[in-house]
């Protein structure tokens, strides 16, 4: 009830707030007419018509004439003198002033003649610029045509461009097609996230935005699949704005000893782009470098409130993060086809984590359900360094890259665990308590390089690719565990351990891959072989991993730790693998211009797998030398249908066969009963490799009618995999202690089904309001045969997740998001009297951002989770008020009220074959915080200091140059049906 109420309130508030805005509608009139050339009497296309209020020159509306030179404005207020300017490159400016009233609500200019500007062309001031033009195949958006606040960023403008849809999740679509890359001057701008460019770069720094379709040059494009081409949005900076910096620095202090401090700074020039970020807090905010950059954008619209105190994560964490990256381009080339780039990055993260949790789990066994209650307390610290450097050089026909990275980490951990096991409705069977402390160190290095030779013609004999990867890592760990196991029914099973573990391990792997794309050409010359393509592929890898395990137990007699010979050992696994394959593919394409384009690709890949694995151990029973040969073919069909100006369908169906071999720990495990007293795995030396056959299906529909205000798309995916000789459990439960002993066996019949459906629709409404709905459902079903207490049983585990969300933007006034999710986990057992289990979680989320006055944003986020099994529920309501100040809106004060209802709990549920468990852990508690932030930013040279007014003025002049005039003079609005209003 509470959920519904809150959802209703969230939806209603904004509509009440803004309802009164429409009441003036009936006091408005319209103006129409047609613009022609005065000398030759032909209609002028692309004339920019702008309407200003005479009193204060505020822009009311603008319009670009189409092919027929006509224009219509509606919604012009009555009794208000209005200036109408008609401007067109090469023509004299024409101005008219009119006032509409109830007697003449509609005014028709009939034909207006513009005269050619003869002679004095330098002095022609071109005030307006065409907002959208088609330049060849490129759609160009001209920022100067959009009059916005001087602090507006690119995103503020994009939302006003017809045909462009900004989705609630950050996706951008142009005429129904998803934008895959957003570049700045032809290069990625601090990673792949478009918001870094669209929410930081001021509109005024942009010369133009280009949207075009390009081939994905990072692929070989053997089959010329239209789905492989990418829609790219390139933001071109103005020549004087090709360097700049921006970022955010802020610190906050709160009740309950909470604090946060974040800083990020990014800078760019024509060749170098780099950024650094640092963060320190005790409110569970963890973010990587890229996310820090994303969260520090100078946006003033649609705050996601993602990077705030995390009440959902277990425990209380102190986090310190420092990181940075840079990218240097050796050429200034503005073309994504070419790249000559050096990148480097470094991260350091230190976390200090304290978690207490209780877990209730239910295990279904013969006749009854076993309940396990456990309590755990963990304190851990983790310090991690990672860094990398990479270089890539790519041109039209060659692509070379080399990467090197290192990482190093140190962890300590101390935990206490106490658990009891009981029969449901019966007595307690046993209890187990353990204390452990551990330290570990990990170091790794990785090196990889690749080279591709494409040549300009893929039919050339030299089309090949080669890649190599080398990695090494080693780790050392020490731990001490003290375990007490007490059985209430059989004292002989009681156990006590005090154990030291000293482990050292290292891994080394080498991988070499090669592909040759011109096999057909080599074998058949110019013969087209019915257009079947052939690619030869081979992958060789050699890996070796070593482990040195030392275990010693405390001996109370001698008071010393004595070596445990049954567990102390060395192990080395050496694995050599080769995977040759031959890939055959053929395209069937049919096209009827202006009607449809259909493309079908059929691919078959014949792959062999040769594998040999040698295990050397200090325990004789673990010495093994095995080799295998598998045939692992795969095939796929993909289908793409593009109905001109209507819709696009993509479909794919693929199948493959894969084999996996049992590991030495599954065949001949070292059995240790001390660490987990409730679960003991005995393995099976006779296990055979398992073979998986999988089938995948995908379907995607997108509407592509740019003239319509509605955008929608949906996709369906499904997969099924069937495992022969699957390695499954046969487990026995000790009736006295509740302990589970597992043997592994091969069995047919393990099957996994997955299906998903996703649909989204977006309505563009008047005054820049957007309403979006998203619905997704995913289903998964795992059928697994196994034995429990020697009873054959088929376990079916089902997961169904439903989520419906509504996103509504009120122009610049705010956003509302409401979502409802229902997640169901269940498992059923076919065998005898085994019990079935079921858990349902309801998740309601709401998010409301409004700007009641300029520069003030009030945000609310609401989360409500209920769980039917435990009867537990959790509500989390956070509220934020953010105020931007200073003339440039670079300073911000933010008040946060977290967990206002004081009802937050961390609940997580997990289900597997015959076990269902619910964990409740500690987390943050209610606190209030005040945060001050500053957004340092500067784009371009010293002129900035003289104020925004000048920059705004500069826009008008932009259209005046000679070159620009040529472009402005010929907008093509017919091309793709993009028309403004």
């Amino acid at each position: 009830m509470m959920r519904i109420l809150i959802a209703v309130i969230i939806v209603i508030i904004p509509s009440l707030l803004f309802a009164q805005r429409d009441t003036t509608r009936y006091n408005k009139g319209s103006v129409t007419g047609i613009v022609k050339d005065s000398a030759d009497d032909y209609a002028l296309q692309s004339v920019t018509i702008t309407l200003y209020k005479k009193s204060d020159s505020t822009l009311i509306n603008y319009h670009i004439t189409g092919e027929d030179g006509t224009f219509t404005f509606s919604d012009i207020p009555f009794f208000t003198p209005v200036h109408i300017n008609f401007s067109f490159t090469g023509y004299n400016l024409l101005s008219k002033t009119i006032t509409l009233d109830t007697l003449t609500p509609n005014y028709n200019f009939k034909t207006l003649f513009l005269s050619k500007a003869q002679g004095l062309m330098d002095e022609v001031v071109v005030k307006a610029v065409v907002p959208i033009t088609m330049n060849g195949d490129t759609l160009e958006i001209n920022p100067a045509a959009f009059k916005l606040d001087s602090n507006a960023v690119v995103e503020d403008m994009l939302r006003r461009v017809p045909g462009v849809t900004m989705w609630g999740d950050g996706t951008i679509t142009v005429n129904g097609r998803t934008v895959n890359n957003v570049y700045v001057d032809g290069k990625p701008f601090f990673g792949n996230d478009p918001t870094l460019a669209t929410q930081n770069l001021p509109k005024n720094a942009i010369e133009k935005i280009q949207v075009y379709r390009e081939t994905d040059y990072t692929k070989d494009n053997i089959d010329d699949n239209p789905a492989d081409s990418l829609l790219t949005m390139n933001i071109r900076l103005r020549e004087d704005k090709k360097f700049g910096y921006f970022g955010k620095a802020g610190a906050g202090i709160g009740t309950d000893k909470r604090y946060e401090a974040d800083a990020s700074g990014l800078a760019y020039n024509k060749k170098l782009r780099g950024g650094i970020a640092a963060s320190l807090n005790n409110i569970n905010k963890t973010a990587g470098l890229q996310e820090m950059f994303q969260q520090g954008t100078y946006r003033n619209y649609n705050p996601s409130n993602r990077y705030v105190a995390n009440f959902g994560s277990a425990g209380v964490n102190k986090v310190l993060f420092i990181g940075g990256n840079m990218q240097y381009d050796f050429s200034e080339n503005n073309n994504s086809r070419f790249s000559n780039q050096l990148r480097a990055n470094y991260d350091f993260r230190s976390t200090n984590n304290y978690v207490t949790s209780t877990t209730d789990s239910r295990n279904s066994v013969t006749d009854r359900v076993l309940l396990q209650d456990s309590e755990q307390e963990t304190h851990s610290t983790n310090n991690n360094h990672s860094g990398g450097i990479s270089y890539n050089k790519r041109d039209q026909d060659k692509d070379f890259s080399v990467n090197a990275s290192i990482n190093s980490s140190e962890n300590t951990r101390a935990s206490n665990n106490f658990s009891t096991r009981a029969v449901e409705g019966g007595s307690v069977l046993s209890e187990n308590s353990s204390r452990s402390s551990s330290q570990s160190k990990n170091n790794g290095v990785n090196f990889s390089t690749s080279f591709r030779n494409k040549d300009d013609d893929e039919r050339n004999l030299k089309g090949f690719g080669i890649n190599y990867n080398l990695s090494y890592n080693n780790s050392e760990s020490q731990s001490n565990t003290i375990t007490d196991f007490i059985s209430y029914e059989d004292e002989s099973q009681n156990k006590h351990f005090n154990r030291l573990n000293n482990n050292e391990s290292s891994g080394f792997s080498n991988n070499l891959g090669m592909n040759y794309n011109a096999l057909k050409r080599l074998l058949f010359g110019n013969f087209s072989l019915w257009n079947i393509n052939m690619v030869l592929n081979n992958n060789v890898s050699v890996t070796r991993s070593d482990a040195n395990i030392k275990v010693s137990d405390y001996d109370s007699l001698t008071g010393a730790y004595l070596r445990n010979d049954s567990l102390t050992h060395n192990n080395r696994v050496t694995r050599i693998e080769d995977r040759p394959s031959l890939r055959l593919s053929k395209n069937f394409s049919k096209r009827l211009s202006d009607r449809f384009n259909r493309y079908i690709n059929i691919t078959a890949n014949m792959q062999g797998q040769f594998l040999s694995e040698k295990n050397e151990s200090s325990f004789d029973y673990r010495n093994m030398d095995r080799s295998f040969k598998f045939f692992t073919p795969s095939a796929s069909v993909s289908y793409n249908y593009d109905r001109f100006n209507r819709y696009n369908i993509e479909m794919s169906l693929s199948g493959n066969k894969a084999s996996s071999i049992p590991s030495v720990d599954q065949l001949r495990p070292i059995i240790d009963t001390s660490v987990n007293a409730y679960n003991i795995s005995l393995g099976n030396a006779n296990l055979q490799p398992s073979v998986t056959n999988a089938l995948n299906f995908g379907f995607n529909y997108r509407r592509q009618q740019s003239a319509k205000k509605t955008d929608y798309n949906f996709d369906i995916s499904a997969s099924v995999s069937d495992v022969n000789d699957a390695i499954v459990d046969s487990s026995f439960y000790d009736r006295l202690s509740g302990r589970r002993t597992t043997y592994l066996i091969n069995m047919d019949g393990r099957r996994v089904y997955n299906a998903g459906f996703n649909a989204g629709t977006s309505f563009k409404m008047k005054n820049n309001k957007i309403l979006q709905f998203n619905y997704s459902v995913s289903l998964s079903n795992t059928t697994s045969p196994n034995f429990v207490d020697a009873i054959y049983t088929v376990t079916k585990a089902n997961n169904i997740n439903n989520n419906l969300s509504v996103f509504y933007t009120l122009g610049d006034l705010g956003t509302v998001m409401v979502s409802q999710g229902v997640n169901t986990n269940s498992s059923t057992q076919s065998g005898g009297s085994l019990k079935s289990l079921r858990a349902v979680n309801y998740i309601t989320q709401g998010n409301l951002n409004i700007n009641p006055v300029k520069d003030l944003t009030i945000s609310n986020t609401f989360n409500y989770v209920t769980n039917n099994t435990t009867g537990q529920s959790s509500a989390l309501w956070n509220a934020f008020a953010t105020y931007r100040f200073l003339k440039t809106k670079q300073a911000e004060v933010k008040l946060s009220a977290m967990d206002i209802l004081k009802q937050n709990k961390n609940i997580s549920t997990s289900a597997n074959i015959n076990n269902l468990s619910t964990t409740v852990s500690n987390g943050l508690q209610q606190f209030f915080m005040v945060t001050l932030s500053y957004y340092p930013r500067r784009f371009g040279g010293g002129r900035q200091v003289r104020g925004e007014g000048r920059r705004e003025g500069g826009e008008g002049r932009q259209g005046g140059g000679f070159e620009r005039r040529g472009q402005g003079g010929g907008g093509n609005f017919g091309g793709r049906g993009i028309r403004n209003r």
């Binding site: 030759d40 032909y42 013609d457 110019n526 202006d594 009607r595």
Partner: protein, 414 residues
């Protein structure tokens, strides 16, 4: 800027008074427009019948014979015959051939069809290699060429051309000969001279013009061709050359210059282009993508009465690329700025450019999708359609075959 205007005025004066120069100063963005009724005496829309058999994509090439509209559609790789009222007669597809060109040979009353053999594919490098010896008969098996007899099209009378290896680069019928061009340079070649334009009588070369250095002229590292434009006189071709703004005429015994366009600096190839040390074809491609406003070539030349139609090959929308020169007044018109009006029911005019011209008419076409779009956009003006088009709008759909547009120019604009 003012200097340019002064020059422009001077030239207009000069050309108007004397006609003694063939140089014309031409600023594309300043070309004027006009309502359709001032330019055309007559505009006819001829919908092409849509049946299951006759459905095709787009008119890739149009030939208008005495009795038929002959259409090559690259989507389906078929040649379609429609009568002059748009009724579908028949279609033809040469087996194993991907069509590259169709031409009308009036003296034979036949349609020349030429293309490549489907079973083979070549890299540009291999074609370059073959073009060093274009009459080598062994290459003929990679091509397919034939005359299709038009006296009775139902008979499908095909006369194959044997050993016609020139078909590799689609030559143009010129008198009883072939005019052809394939221009390329390579730093590995011997330092010798090649010719941009060649005329062959069978396998015999009878004329060569416009020499270039086959090793050093780096802007020809990417192969280029002279473009030929047939006229109504089979002994006369118009042609244009790559990286050149002149329109030439080729007759039986001479090459003459008709016009040279002088373009604004921003559109003109700089002198440096011709000496730029391009290293490869890719290098040249890069230069071209980076210099989008430059004009690379003049294309689509048609001369009807005293009007010369042409388009500029540069990075502008099709609407801004096509022009018309009125030779009596030396005025330039942008065909994209010729407005539809009530005389043609506000229907599309020259969106697809000119696709064929004969003594009396220009021909263009419009897709049904754009025809219906125009109809929808102009409902408010209550346009009056001729009966054929009225019926087309009533019975047809947006996915029907394209509509042929037949235009008759006025003798005098205005």
């Amino acid at each position: 800027m003012r200097k340019w205007i002064a020059i422009f005025c001077f030239i207009v004066y000069y050309t108007a008074s004397g006609q003694s120069t063939r140089d014309l100063y031409f600023q594309p963005s300043f070309a004027t427009g006009a309502p359709a009724s001032k330019i055309f005496e007559e505009i006819n829309y001829i919908p092409l019948e849509t049946t299951k058999k006759s459905l095709f994509g787009r008119i890739r090439q149009l030939v208008v014979s005495d009795d038929y509209f002959i259409i090559w559609d690259a989507d389906t790789n078929f040649i379609y015959f429609f009568d002059k009222k748009g009724k579908f007669i028949k279609k033809y597809r040469p087996s194993n051939c991907t069509i590259k060109t169709i031409q009308l040979d009036k003296s034979r009353n036949a349609l020349f069809i030429s293309g490549s053999n489907k079973n083979f594919s070549f890299s540009p490098a291999e074609i370059e290699k073959m073009m060093e010896d274009p009459t080598n008969r062994s290459f003929a098996r990679f091509t397919w060429s034939a005359y299709y007899d038009l006296s009775d099209i139902h008979k499908e009378k095909i006369q194959r051309l044997k050993d016609f290896s020139l078909a590799l680069v689609a030559p143009t019928i010129f008198n009883n000969w072939w005019a052809y061009s394939y221009i390329f340079a390579n730093r590995k070649f011997a330092d010798n001279t090649g010719y941009e334009l060649k005329v062959y009588d069978g396998e015999k070369n009878i004329r060569e013009d416009f020499s270039y250095n086959k090793r050093n002229e780096a802007f020809y590292y990417k192969p280029e061709q002279v473009n030929f434009f047939p006229t109504n006189d089979r002994e006369r071709l118009l042609f244009t050359r790559p990286y050149n703004y002149s329109i030439y005429q080729l007759t039986k015994d001479s090459v003459s210059l008709l016009y040279t366009l002088i373009l604004p600096l921003e559109n003109s190839l700089p002198k440096a282009f011709f000496t730029h040390p391009f290293r490869s074809k890719n290098d040249l491609d890069l230069y071209r993508t980076q210099n989008g406003s430059l004009v690379w070539k003049i294309n689509n030349v048609y001369r009807v009465q005293h009007y010369m139609f042409f388009s500029l090959d540069y990075n502008k929308s099709p609407r801004e690329r096509n022009f018309m020169l009125d030779e009596t007044t030396n005025r330039f018109y942008s065909t994209g700025k010729i407005n539809t009006d009530s005389t043609n029911g506000y229907l599309p005019l020259l969106q697809s450019g000119i696709q064929y011209a004969d003594e009396n008419h220009l021909y263009s076409s419009a897709s049904s999708s754009s025809m219906f779009q125009s109809k929808d956009n102009n409902q408010a003006r209550n346009p009056e359609y001729k009966p054929a088009i009225k019926q087309y709008f009533e019975k047809g759909t947006r996915t029907d075959n394209p509509v042929i547009i037949q235009l008759k120019l006025k003798n005098k604009i205005g």
